[in-house]
Point group: C2
Chain length 196, copies 2
Amino acid sequence: MPRPSLREEVVAAALDQFHLRGYNGSGVKDVTDAAGLPKGSFYNYFSSKEEMALETLRRYGIGREFERLQDRTLPPLARLRAHFVFLGQDVVRLGVIRGCMIGNFASEVATQSPALREAVAAGFTGWINKVTEVLREAVQRGELSPERDLELLASSLVHAWEGTLLHAKVTGDMRTVDEFFPGVFDPLTGYSDPVS
Amino acid sequence: MPRPSLREEVVAAALDQFHLRGYNGSGVKDVTDAAGLPKGSFYNYFSSKEEMALETLRRYGIGREFERLQDRTLPPLARLRAHFVFLGQDVVRLGVIRGCMIGNFASEVATQSPALREAVAAGFTGWINKVTEVLREAVQRGELSPERDLELLASSLVHAWEGTLLHAKVTGDMRTVDEFFPGVFDPLTGYSDPVS
C-alpha cells in the first residue's frame, strides 16, 4: 500500500510545478522527479494528471487562507482589503512571475478539460460569494450604501485582482500588484484609511 | 523560395491554435496540419515555435483595432468605452472560452520564454499608454478631473478587463464580459450615458 506521506510529497511538487509552469507546461515526470520518485509510482497516488491538478487546485485554495474573510475582529471593508493585501504579500513571497494559480488555470484549461474548467469556475464563484458576504456586512455596518449591487462589486474586485496579477507576471514587478489598492479597491469601495 | 501566401496560412492557423489552446497546448504539427501543410515545411517560414508566436501576437494586436482609440468623432470617454465594447463583441464573436490572447500568453509564457514575456509586457504597456492618451483628452475636455492619476486609471481598466475575460473563459458566459461596464468602467471613469 502506498505511503500517505509520499502522496503529500507528490501533491506539494505538483503544486509547485503547476504554479510555476502551468498545466500544459508540467508533465507527470517533472512532478515525480521533483518529488524524488520514479515516474511509475505516480499512479499509486493519482489516476491521471487531471486528477492531480484537481487536488492541487484544492490545496492552492486552502493556502490562500479565505477564513481571514470571516475574522470579525476587523471591520468589513478593512478586513476585505487586508485579504487582498495578504494575497499580494503571498504572491510577492512566492514570486510575482507565478501569478495566481486559479487565474493561470482559467487561462489554460478552459478549452481542454471540462473537469478542471468546472473546478476553476467553482473557485471563482466561491471566492466571489465570500467577498459578497463581507460586502453585505459592510452595508449592515453603514460602510457601503445599501443601493450597491454587491455581487457586481465583488466580481469586479476579483476580476481586477486577477488581471493585476496577470500583468504582474510579465512585469515581474510588485508595484504592479500594489496598483490594485489605489487604482481599484479604494475607489470602487470608497474605502479610506481610518485616521489613527 | 517559399510562397508568401503559404506563410500567411501558417500565421492564420497559428493565431487560431494559440488563441484556442494556448502556447504550450499547440504544437508546430497542429499548426501545419491546420494549414494543410507538411510539418517539415514549417521551417521555410519560421525558425521556431517561439518566433511564430511572436508574429501571431503582433497579428492579434492588429486585429484588436486600437486605431479606434484615435477616432476623434467620438468624445474621449465614450470612445474609450466603445473600444472595450468592441473588444467584448470581438471576444463573444470568437468565443468567450478563448479569452484575450495577450492575457493567455501572459499567464503561460512568463516563466518560459523571455522573448515572449517581453512581447506580452510591451503589449500591455502599449495598450495602457494608448488608454492613458484618451484619458488625457478626457481631462482636456473636462470629462475627468485633472486630479486623477491617469496612468493608474488606465492600467486599472486594462487589468479589470483582462481579469473579466479570464473569468469569462471558465463561465463561458458573455454576461461575465458585460459586468465590466457597470462594475468597473462606469464607476472608475464616472462615465454616464449621454441623454439622447
